[in-house]
Amino acid sequence: MDARVEQRSERRLYRFHGGLHLPDNKHQSTGQPVRPAALPTLLVLPLSQHIGAPAKPLVAPGDSVLKGQMIAAAQGAVSAPVHASSSGTVVAVEKRPVPHPSGLPAPCIVIETDGEERWAELPEPWPDFEQRSADELIQRIRDAGIVGMGGAAFPTSVKLDPDRPIDTLVINGAECEPYITCDDMLMRERADRVIAGVAVLRHLLGVRQCLIGIEDNKPEAIGAMTRALAERDLPATEVVVIPTRYPSGGEKQLIRVLTGKEVPSGGIPAHVGIVCHNVGTAAAVADAVLEGKPLISRIVTLTGEGIAAPCNLEVAVGSLASELIGQAGGYSARASHLILGGPMMGFALPDDGVPITKAANCLLAASEREDPDPGPALACIRCGRCAEACPVTLLPQQMYWYAKAKDLEKVQEYNLFDCIECGCCAYVCPSHIPLVQYYRYAKNECWDQERERKKAEHARQRHEARVARLARLEAEKKARLKKKKAALKKKPDAAGGAADPKKAAIEAAMKRAAEKKAKLAQEGVTPANTEALTEAQQRQIEQAEARRKEASDGKQTSESP
């Protein structure tokens, strides 16, 4: 133990630029242990609780489902399945309000629970996970529907399958956002579970070392994790206490603090030989591998002056926010805004009738004092505090001017896409300009533009192909006409020329016909269509011939002088 503590203090830590010391407001919700939330009567499970393709439903209304049963399957490489978080009956597969900044409803599977909590048959527990291959473990984690539980909700299995060697596993227990304490409570109460997950991840990735970063404002969690780690005694694995400075829990910032490495712009941690997972994700991995349990519940912090009894609840994924708040004593009279996530990066919910998803870590019911209306934004006075606070060393002010002017090229030149939307700039802005919203807007415009550009490119290619095809057809037509014209021109002098076989054939035929005519004339036969006539017809013809002869003879005579 002591040696570990010493080692801990010796580790050199690194700084990132900017950042903020924020009032952390965490004590409000850490007073009581985590308690399980009551089973809700209705579970609303969005098909898209992760980054990537939405899951594909495997059930229809009327189907009965068991707890832990997969009800929607992953689609494509970057996706995650969804499991029923309790047993019951599917009552609808339809669009429902979901927690999303757009406020738009999205497809969900709605389950009416039966209260029996009957479990589906789960995959066999693998306490001997060391015997399992990495591929088997990754498939297990993918099938368990595990996504990054720190908030980003990126499918965990994808991160565990990097295409290059990994040297260091970073476990994120920083939890730098004010108010949120779900990771803190998880580490305090279930440190062994987290460490068990770390052991699985460590084995799976075959890393040289593992660093568990925790901010120094969580001494209980640090103590619990250190003890759990000592019991387990994983090789080259350390709990590293880092200074509390927002946003040290950002993946790239935490990696910088712990290792001094910078994840390259536009790159992922694997590019510097690192994979980073949240402590909650590690615990979920332990459940999936060691017990075969899919990700169907999580710890959620309910806090803020708008909540009567702030606490942490273990919540079935798909529970409605409104019900959970009821279990935290309901709203206090001061509740004025409801925020999903922390105050810095979370977003305001217009209504509490939305489900808790896998990555939802906090419901913050803020009072007017906690989240006051900043009033209309004033003009930017170019004070540069935003640049001082930016953990990515961007120039937020310049990005703001160009985003406002819709100069997308210029705003990208100022590295818009390196922005992690942590909100430090907006927090310190004396003019109270909602800077992050400008950047999100600019990013969306850039994506739209890119899509438009691709569409235009596609249309251009099609147009060009069409023009080429028409030109080719036109050319062929012209060539044919030209040939015809040339043939017509050649005709006058074609008498001698037998260049054209067709013409020659025609001429030959005409010649033959003429010869035949001449021959017949010689024989005194007039050609007539007179074969195969009936006798009567023959007679009529003869009579007619005789009459004609008579008449012509008479005429000839009379006319002769």
Binding site: G346, D351, P374, R382, C383, P391, D418, Y427, P430
Partner: protein, 347 residues
């Protein structure tokens, strides 16, 4: 339950424009008191006059532009411009010159460019330069500091002088006024006097002119308040004073009798006021960390050049305006390296 939607961050914000402006005004107090102590009531009278004129002008233009008047007045930026202009001008300047300066500062330099945040030039300094080149005699007629003036004017007498009543019975301009130390130094150096000789006069204190150097000290205190309250950062003032000092010390080292020593420059004229209150105006200054160092240092160097070889005794306003012009370009070429980019990418 329904809730109203708000933008992130969902917290109280620690800073506001009004607070920044208020701290600038508070930080001006020590220097203003010192200035009034040594040079009389004119300072206060001009502050009030300029302040009222600036707020009226701002309200007038905003109404013309059909923009909300109240928030713009409430941000105190017009008042700050007015106060900075007022402490920079001679205390007995006729009222209408102040009025012209303020109207120019607010209407032309600030509002015609789009108002707070959009003006490329420091309004107070642009106005100062306008009235300096238009009314050079009035603008260089300073009062002698109180220890050198046997009969200082009282409040009403000062008011009378500023508003065109003329001097009280028995007083003459010659008896009351005096060139500024910078002016004296220049003129006498031009007459080929040696510095040791020039400094024999009772006008001189330890570093600069008597009275003047103390005004500088009190403005310095205000500057430290701004630094402490993080309204400004250290870069511009330090680079500004550093640039000026290096130039002054270099030439002083070359010829001690022809070039005054470094601290003379620091505690004369508008140096301290300029370094902490004028050059640090965020709207018109450079904003990148390296850019601020370059911006500040170049202002200091320009001040020395104009003071020593230029046509005007003081040069803070000219140097600041010239560098206002360069600030966007400096910013462009001094962008910091972005996290995860190699050095070359950050440029």
């Amino acid at each position: 339950m329904h809730f109203s939607i708000t933008n992130s961050p969902h917290t109280d914000r620690p800073n506001s424009v009004v607070e920044n402006m208020l701290w600038v005004i508070i930080a001006l107090v020590p220097g203003t008191i010192a200035l009034t102590w040594y040079f009389g009531w004119g300072v206060v009278i001009h502050m009030v006059l300029a302040g009222v004129a600036a707020i009226a002008a701002e309200a007038f233009v905003l109404r013309l532009r059909r923009r909300p008047v109240k928030p713009a007045i409430a941000d105190l930026s017009a008042l700050v411009t007015a106060l900075l202009f007022a402490v920079a001008i001679p205390p007995l300047l006729p009222w209408w010159i102040t009025l012209i300066g303020i109207l120019f500062a607010i209407i032309v330099v600030k509002q015609l460019y789009g108002g707070l945040g959009y003006n490329p030039f420091n309004p107070a300094m642009a106005a100062y330069v306008l009235v300096l080149v238009s009314y050079p005699v009035d603008m260089t007629t300073w009062l002698a500091p109180r220890m050198l003036d046997p009969h200082p004017l009282d409040f009403l007498q000062t008011l009378g002088v500023i508003f065109g009543q003329g001097l009280p019975q028995g007083m003459t301009w010659d008896a009351m006024t005096s060139a500024t130390p910078l002016d004296v130094m220049r003129t006498e150096l031009d007459m080929n006097k040696m510095i040791s000789e020039i400094r024999q006069s009772p006008l001189w204190g330890d570093f600069g002119g008597r009275g003047w150097e103390w005004v500088g000290n009190w403005f310095l205190l205000g500057g430290l308040i701004l630094l402490y309250k993080r309204v400004i950062t250290w870069r511009i003032p330090v680079a500004f004073l550093g640039g000026l000092l290096v130039m002054a010390m270099l030439f002083h080292f070359l010829d001690q009798e022809a070039y005054p020593f470094g601290l003379f420059h620091v505690f004369s004229g508008g140096t301290i006021l300029g370094a902490f209150f004028i050059a640090t105006d965020p709207v018109t200054a450079s904003t990148t960390p390296r850019g601020q160092l370059i911006y500040g240092a170049l202002i200091g160097i320009l001040i020395y050049i104009i003071r020593t070889w230029g046509g005007y005794p003081d040069a803070v306003a000219f140097a600041v305006l010239l560098m206002n012009l360069a600030a966007p370009t400096i910013d462009y070429y001094t962008q910091p390296r972005v996290f995860g980019h190699r050095e070359a990418d950050g440029e």
